[in-house]
Amino acid sequence: MSLWREALLVAGKDLRIEARSRVTLYQILPFGAVVVLLFAFALDPSRGVLPRVAPGLFWVAVLLAALLAVSRSFTVETENAARDALRLSGLDGSAVFLGKAGAIVAELVVLEVVLGAGVAFLYDVELRSLGLLLATAVAATAGIAATGTLYGVLAAGLRVRETLVPVLLLPVVAPVMLGATRAWEAGLRTTPSEGWPWVALLALFAVLYTTIGMLAFGPLLEEA
């Protein structure tokens, strides 16, 4: 079986589990929405603060929700010793990485669509320069999913997994936060030309961590 077929098999499995357990729908999505809502309450909308900080708040909400998605992706592998079965399956480590990261991307895309609509409504933001916003979302989501999957497997066998993943992951994805926020700020100000260099940075980050993940995931899964 080719690398991509194996990756699709893993992604299909993870997405089927999520579709049936509805953790994304009932826990991760509401969590992201609550974060966005709390920021709206915490900051004073009457002074026009929210539209200015909307990009940063959106990506903070996505990132926090992504932590849950990453954690969930590896929790399902700890139940019933499924991780041992995954190791024994004969699937290529790179394919497992791509499959798990792909499933996280799919979940985050759904999350971003809902949160994006929420931000536009609650923060009174007009979504202009859609091309830039979408390109930013694609690159940033791929970067978050790749790093999340890599650090997720790093902590997979540890009892402190739930608390360790955020500690490891948040500093690493700080460039994604920065780049995505700057690109979205440029997009919302209708100065998209200022945003594209940040998209390039985000794409580079995503490619770099996808490559590292494909190389390192298999050995890390063996030691998890």
Partner: protein, 241 residues
């Protein structure tokens, strides 16, 4: 007959504890070998070492021609391990778990459905793993192991949690394994039952294989590359049946 497993002074550490402290073991193709011994004697560790789930810390170990010291993953597609847990996903149905395992091992997903019938889970095919009883989960784990069509089947306390019918199914699978081209290593405390299935018993104690008892002649395994059986092979199958 070709060796499926070849261990020489194999050492496996769990932390600093030598769970296997120098095991010598040869297993020929088509053999059913019973591993016995007290709790903590190293049976589970030995099975997990052979599956490549534990690292080899000393000695030599070859499984299906793959040297475990340098390549723990090479033989995995040809191995199934039925351990204490099922390795299945709670939110996937019986059929979905089975098909995922079969496809991951490069087997035909549709053909894997036949194993459902074999283990008596056809009626539960669309039930999620999380809603199965303990015995049904064990049957599913056995079905998953078989759906991978392994050359080497590793069974760790396989009768645990099974009812009488499930035990009979399992015994049938083990008994028919040589004829189906499978080699079986079976760790169990239910010695009366499993001795009747095994060609040979290896007693483990303190992480060392101490004694071997032969129960019978090993039938040559049926070649996986040939569907045709010789008269001699069919005669031997009948004798073992």
């Amino acid at each position: 007959m070709p060796l499926v497993v070849r261990l020489r002074s194999a050492v496996c550490l769990l932390g600093r504890f030598p769970a296997l402290a120098g095991v010598d073991l040869d297993v020929e193709a088509g053999e059913v070998v019973l591993l016995s011994g007290a709790n903590g004697s190293g049976k589970t560790t030995l099975l997990r070492l052979l599956a490549g789930l534990h690292r080899l810390h000393g000695g030599t170990a070859e499984v299906l021609g793959h040297d475990l010291a340098v390549d723990r993953r090479g033989a995995r597609r040809a191995i199934s391990l039925l351990g204490h847990e099922t390795g299945c996903y709670d939110d996937l149905t019986v059929r979905e778990n089975l098909r995922f395992a079969a496809r991951a091992a490069g087997r035909d997903a549709a053909a894997s459905d036949a194993t459902l019938e074999r283990v008596g889970l056809v009626g539960q095919a669309d039930v999620v793993h999380g809603r199965l009883s303990a015995g049904q989960r064990r049957r599913l784990a056995l079905a998953v192991a078989l759906a991978r069509d392994p050359q080497l089947l590793l069974l760790d306390e396989p009768h645990a949690g099974l009812d009488a019918a499930g035990r009979a199914v399992l015994d049938g699978v083990v008994a028919s394994s040589p004829a189906e081209g499978r080699t079986v290593l079976l760790a169990s405390h239910e010695l009366d039952r499993t001795r009747a299935l095994a060609h040979r018993e290896v007693v483990l104690s303190g992480g060392v294989a101490h004694a071997t008892k032969d129960f019978g002649v090993v039938a040559p395994p049926i070649s996986r590359t040939s569907d045709a059986k010789t008269e001699e092979e069919e005669d031997e199958e009948e004798v073992h049946a």
